[in-house]
């Protein structure tokens, strides 16, 4: 038994698709830069800070464009982003804790 549903297929939004591929290219290039830095720069605070910064840039592109959060209403954006403060707090708290355990043991 064939059930046919008539739907109107709209043409491809070329500008949007091009933008999506461009973002993918940016993500790829940032990853390539991270590799280049991992191979060439000495390990240290500067390198780690650069890695964290580039990671946040990548996260911004994925969340805002791929997950479309940038185009949602402000209330939704803030309800997702503000709770991340707890994560920042946990990072600071546990890294300090780890440091003091290190001082206690060594």
């Amino acid at each position: 038994m064939e059930t046919t549903v008539s739907v109107e297929v709209k043409p491809v939004n070329k500008a949007k698709v091009r933008k999506l591929w461009k973002i993918a290219l940016i993500l790829g290039i940032i990853t390539a830069i991270e590799f280049f830095m991992a191979y060439t720069m000495p390990r240290g605070i500067l390198l780690y800070a650069a890695f964290v910064g580039l990671t946040i840039v990548k996260a911004f592109y994925i969340v805002s464009e791929f997950m479309h959060l940038k185009y949602e209403v402000k209330a939704l954006i803030w309800s997702i982003l503000l709770p991340m403060i707890f994560v920042v707090w946990l990072i600071i708290a546990l890294l300090a804790e780890g440091g003091s355990i290190f001082n206690h043991l060594y």
Binding site: V9, K10, I62, V73, L76, L95, G98
Partner: protein
Amino acid sequence: MEVTASIDKETKTNLWGGGVSPFKVSYGKIMMWFFLLSDAFTFSGLLITYGFLRYSYPAFQGPASAFRPSVEYWPIPEKIFDAVPFLHGVHLPLLFVGIMTFILILSSVTMVLAVEAGQRMDRNDVTKWMLWTIVGGVAFLSCQAWEWSHFITGTADGMVLTNGMIVNGANLQVNEYGPPLFASLFFFITGFHGTHVLSGVILNVIIFYNVVIGTYDKRGKYEMIEKVGLYWHFVDLVWVFVFTFFYLI
């Protein structure tokens, strides 16, 4: 004209008073967002635990080229993860993880293209891009299976402990790469992420099946693609963080 203006004014003043959608998003998508927020906390917990334990161990002193694995200090990840399939014995730091990262980014793009096709009600395009997304997910899982088996098997030389015992590979008690917690964290963090990829692939297959049999044409909207899309991008997002904090730093 006059009527619409007065309704707009009314809804603006009673945004949270009921009858309107303040977030202008469907119920399902809001719930997916808040589920992902809670999942982000779980992954943050795991990654911050990694940072916490790493900080409570000594780092390797001296140039990276002189690094030898030991239970005394935390390993340098790029010295541990340097193997690529079919290239046995070649030192290629982080290359395989990089390939995995590119696979996941590409499958994220194909997913967002499926979402775009769904908004146009184009069943053929959705089918095509969903299929590519599933292929990407399966490819990533296969890579991770190889990575795990390589990590568990270890190298031929292994690590010699102070009591003369030789350790090969890794398990939850002991490993040849560093302190026991290093392998435990590897299994927990990449394993938890891999489980998410696996459930993402299963969800994608279910949605793909529904697309093929025409469920969303009958329903009149392809919003389900957007919901699994959110989940799939989140899995990609988590990998970006795992890649940085577990493998790069």
